[in-house]
Symmetry: C2
Subunit: 350 residues, 2 copies
C-alpha cells in the first residue's frame, strides 16, 4: 500500500480519536460502576485497558458526522456499542476456549470463568445504559428508543449467528452462501446497525440511513472475511489472537470452503484429513499434539489451493461495494474517512 | 395460614394471570427470535416452558394497575423483566455449578455450557427489545426510555451484588448489614425497579412511584431472606433447586450469620467446622462426600441456634414494611393484591 500525505493525516487523526475513545470508555465505565463493585472494578478495567481497533464506535461517530450530526451528542452510543462488542468477545472467548486476546490473557484465563461471565453481562448492561444517555445530550427520546430497538434486534441476530456458527463447525460441506449468512448475522449486522444508528441519531434522511447501513453491512462482511483469512495468513507478531483457535474449534471459514471447492483432489483430501483427524489439536489430545503441525499443513494447503487468495478477493469486492454506497452521500470529511477506513480494514495484515 | 374466600379468589386469579403470562412469554420469544435460530429455539423454549413464580412481571403489572395505568400497554415490559430474570438464573446456575432448577435440569447441564451462556445473552437482549415495544402500545417515548435507564442501572447493581456475594463466600465474619446490602443489590433492587417502572409507565405521580418502589424493595428483601431460609428449611418435594447449593458454594446467608451471632459456643464451632472442613461437599472431594451429611448437620445446628427462626422473623418485618407503603396509595383491587402477594411470598414454604 502506497502511503500518501492524506493517509498519514488520516492515521494520525484515527490514532488521536482512538486514544480519546479509549479514555472515555475507561472513565465512563468506572463512573457508572461506582466504588463497591468487587472484582468487577478490576476485570472491567482490565478489558478496557486494551481497547483494540474500536472499529464500531469509529463507524458510529463518522456515520453521524457524515449525516451532519453532532458527534458529541451520540458519544454515549459509540461507547455503548464498544461495551457490547467487548462483552461479546469475553463470552466468545469462554465458548471458544481461547486463551489470548489482543496479545493478553483472556478474561476467563486471567480471572476465572465466573468472573468473565459476569463481566460480560455487566458490559451488556452498560451498553444499554450508555445508549439512554444520548437523550441527556439532547437527542430526541424517539430517536434514542429507535436506536435501542435496532441494537437489541441486532444483538439477537448476533446470537443467532453464533448458534449458526456452532452448527456448521466441522461441516466441510458448508456453502459460501451459508458462511456469508453466518458472518452477516455474527459480525456485519452490528456494523450495519452502528452506521444506521449513528446516521439516525445524527438526524439523517431515510436515504442516508439506508446508504450508510449498506456501507456498514458490506464493510462488516469484508472485515470478517479478512479476519478469517488472517487466522491463516496474518502477521503473527501483531496478531493478538491465538491462531490455532479456528482450527481447534473446527471452524469452516471461507478460505477453507473455497479451497475445498476449487483445490485439486489431493488438496481436498488433505484438508479433510486435517479436519477429521486427531491431529487438529483436540483438547483431549493436548498432550499428544497441540495442533501446531496440523495448522502449518493447513496453511500451506490453503495457499496451494488458492483459498486464501480467493477469500481476500471477495473481501476486496465487499470493500468496493461498501465504498460505492458512500457516493450516494454529499461530500464531507467524514464520508472520505469512512471510505479510507474501508480500505484500511480490507488491506490490514493483523 | 387461614384461607378465606378472598384468598381463594386471589390464588385463582394469580394462577390465571401466571398462565397467561407464560403463554405470552413463549409466543413473544418465538416470534422475536424467528425461524433460523439454531439451538437457541430449543434452549429458549426449554427455559420458558417452566416459568416459575413470575413474581417480577406480576409486580410490574399490579404496580401499573395500582397507579391507574393500562396493563396491556406495559405488558412487553413485564415480559422483558421476566426474560432478564431468567437470563440471570441461567448464568447464575453456571456460576454456582447447580444442576437443578424448577425441578428440571439446568440449561448448562441439559444443553452444555456454551449453549447456556448464549441463551442467557439472548434473553438479556430480548429484555431490552421487549421494553422498547411499550412505545408501540402508546406509552410515551420519554417514559419508556426512563424505564430502560432504570432497568440498566438496576442490572448493573445486580452484577455488583453478584460480585459482592462471591467476595463474602466462606466469610463467617459477614455482618447482617453486609448480607442485607448484598441481597438488596442482588435481588431487591430488581423488585424495586419493576414496581417503579410499572408505576411510571402507568402514569403514576412521583409520590406513588416512590411508595411502590419502596414496597418492591422491602418485598424483594423479604423474598430473598425467605429464599435463603428455605434452602435449609423448605418443603423439599416442592423445592426445585438443589438444596446443597448454598453450602457447596459456601454461601454465608442470614440464618448462618444469626446462628453464629446468637448461638452457643458449641453450635458456633459446629458451623465453623462444617464451613471450613472438607465435609461441606467440595467438588474436588465429590467421591468422598456429596455434602449430604454436612448439610443435615447444618440444618439441625441452624434450628438449634435459632438462626432460621430469626431470619424468618426479619422477613416478616420486611413484609410488613412493604405492606405499610401500600397505605400511601388510594384503594384499588391491584393495591390489595400487592398486599396479599407480599404475604404469600413471605409465608411460602418453597
Amino acid at each position: 500500500m502506497i502511503t500518501t500525505r492524506d493517509d498519514v493525516d488520516l492515521f494520525s487523526a484515527l490514532a488521536d480519536e482512538r486514544a480519546a475513545l479509549a479514555a472515555h470508555l475507561s472513565r465512563h465505565c468506572h463512573e457508572t460502576l461506582g466504588e463497591a463493585a468487587g472484582y468487577l472494578t478490576e476485570t472491567s478495567a482490565y478489558v478496557l485497558a486494551a481497547p483494540g481497533k474500536l472499529l464500531r464506535p469509529l463507524l458510529l461517530l463518522d456515520a453521524c458526522r457524515a449525516a451532519g450530526g453532532d458527534p458529541e451528542r451520540v458519544l454515549p452510543a459509540a461507547l455503548g456499542t464498544e461495551y457490547g462488542h467487548v462483552a461479546s468477545l469475553i463470552h466468545d472467548d469462554i465458548m471458544d476456549g481461547d486463551e489470548l486476546r489482543r496479545g493478553r490473557e483472556t478474561v476467563h484465563v486471567r480471572f476465572g470463568l465466573n468472573e468473565a461471565l459476569l463481566t460480560g453481562d455487566l458490559l451488556i448492561f452498560q451498553t444499554f445504559l450508555a445508549y439512554t444517555q444520548c437523550a441527556e445530550r439532547g437527542v430526541e427520546a424517539e430517536r434514542v428508543l429507535a436506536a435501542i430497538r435496532t441494537l437489541s434486534l441486532t444483538c439477537i441476530a448476533m446470537c443467532r449467528g453464533q448458534a449458526l456458527e456452532a452448527s456448521i463447525a466441522s461441516r466441510l460441506d458448508t456453502s459460501p452462501e451459508t458462511y456469508l449468512e453466518m458472518i452477516r448475522l455474527k459480525t456485519a449486522s452490528l456494523c450495519r446497525a452502528v452506521t444506521r444508528i449513528g446516521a439516525r441519531l445524527g438526524g439523517a434522511s431515510e436515504e442516508m440511513v439506508t446508504a450508510l447501513g449498506r456501507y456498514g453491512l458490506h464493510l462488516g462482511t469484508a472485515f470478517q472475511i479478512m479476519d478469517d483469512v488472517l487466522s491463516y495468513d496474518g502477521s503473527s507478531a501483531a496478531f493478538g489472537k491465538p491462531r490455532l483457535s479456528d482450527l481447534r474449534n473446527r471452524r469452516v471459514t471461507l478460505p477453507i470452503i473455497y479451497a475445498l471447492r476449487d483445490g485439486t483432489e489431493t488438496l481436498r483430501r488433505r484438508i479433510e484429513a486435517i479436519f477429521t483427524g486427531d491431529e487438529a489439536g483436540d483438547e483431549r489430545d493436548s498432550d499428544r499434539s497441540d495442533g501446531t503441525e496440523a495448522y502449518a499443513r493447513l496453511v500451506e494447503t490453503l495457499h496451494s489451493a488458492g483459498g486464501l487468495a480467493r477469500a481476500r478477493g471477495l473481501a476486496q469486492r465487499y470493500t468496493k461495494l461498501a465504498q460505492r454506497q458512500l457516493d450516494l452521500l454529499p461530500y464531507t470529511a467524514a464520508r472520505e474517512r469512512l471510505r479510507a477506513l474501508a480500505t484500511v480494514f480490507a488491506t490490514r495484515d493483523h
